[in-house]
Amino acid sequence: MLELKNVSFIVPGDSGGKKEIVKDVSLVVEDGKLVVITGPNGGGKSTLAKLIMGVEKPTSGRIFFNGEDITDLSVTDRAKKGVSFAFQQPVKFKGLKVIDLLRIASGKHLSVGDACVYLSSVGLCARDYIDRELNSSLSGGELKRIEIAEILSRSTKLSIFDEPEAGIDLWSFNNLIKVFEDMRRNVRDGSIIIISHQERILNVADEIVVIGGGRVERKGSKEEILPTLLGSASVSNFCTGAGNKEGV
């Protein structure tokens, strides 16, 4: 279980002021739950994910994971305790190959066969990719899928995906949803957070959290929140926009 208590992230702003990127966010993600975080661009969703992973440190508030206060733990320690994070913009490496990243992610010397299973489940013809370098020769959508495969290979208690659908073509989209559903089944008591603008991903959520202006605007069960989102003009705007966000 993940719990955020009054988490804020404030940076120095222009002209000596303060910029509040995440403000007083309190949130619980129960074991076994799939929570989708949505909300307008620039609302603070990715920043919240980075705070959970430890990539950024909150300026105030505490973060608990399975009852333990992890606020002061490093990224590495959190990763070892079972937090995974698929970046919105996958990082490229010169020289490191797809198989290298899968081996690092899984923490073991994966056989090519095992690595291929993860790649296949994100819809990549595995043998074509296993030896590719993770550099700009891969397309935005390919990098995104490899990023997801890495998280699959970790199968940790908490997995966070930041806009996993961005750049993924329509055909693969259904498979992607299946990947998340399988993950829920396979990781016992594991919970998943997906940051997304896509209605079809919102549809598989147990809970939906709407983040705007750095705050939790609304949260609740899918049944409660989804109708309120689809009714509002701003949401339909960013839903239609999401398909074009390759490599953002």
Partner: protein, 307 residues
Amino acid sequence: MKFDEIQLRLLDEIASLHEVPEGAYNIRSDSQAIGRRSTEHIVITPKKDVSGIDIEILPGTKNESVHIPVVLTKSGLKEVVYNDFYVGEGADVLIVAGCGIDNCGAADSEHDGVHRFFLKKGAKVRYVEKHYGSGSGKGKRILNPVTEAYLDEGAEMTMEMVQIKGVDDTERKTVASLKAGAKLVVRERLMTHDKQNAISTYEVVLDGEDSSADVVSRSVARDDSFQKFDAKIVGNAPCYGHTECDSIIMDRGRILAVPGLQANHVDAALMHEAAIGKIAGEQLVKLMTLGLTAEEAEEQIINGFLR
């Protein structure tokens, strides 16, 4: 021929050799040839006037290899060795060179290898050279290789040159000239550490129509080390030339990249790229989110980069 422990370790580092290699070879240890074999198509003969060998590869020789590793295990040795390769028309061979120095003593050990390659029409060579130093002595391990390559029409040469550890001072000089349709590919991998110095200078002259050169160096300078990469390509005909220096600096490392392009023909297309910087923070963070410590992440990134 029997190798002692140090020889074996050095041979493994520079040529992945655990025993006498297949095909032609000349193994040199502490200024002595300790083993030599010619084959039907590859003839090795010692030079008379200076130390070194002539390697003659007969025309049409295919899928054969020559190993010419050099090891130095005694402190204070200094040698200059001249090796000339005559590669016959249409031959296609692998040449594995390399030098390993183990210096446990107080005096400097130095090996300066001068390698000349004469490739006849349509000959193809893949040349692999690894440099490695070890030993805890105060004496330096110094390597100053000179490589000259003369490519006849349609000849192709790929050079993979690697120096990852332990060489204190190195000044590498590579010159090449290419006739019509000839092709040169250079892949240099270099890591310097502690107070090491490495200078690498290239001068490639593209004389013939449709000749091409692609010289790429990837390097890492850590601790207090210094590197200079000075790559010059001269285009005298319609040709294509590309040099690239891609470097990571760490600690107090320093790198100087000197691009040099000279086009003497309107259809010479020459390009230079250089990028120097520290490891990207996001790369470290990414690997840490997969459970690596910062140090482990750094090591993975560098190993991949220099692969």
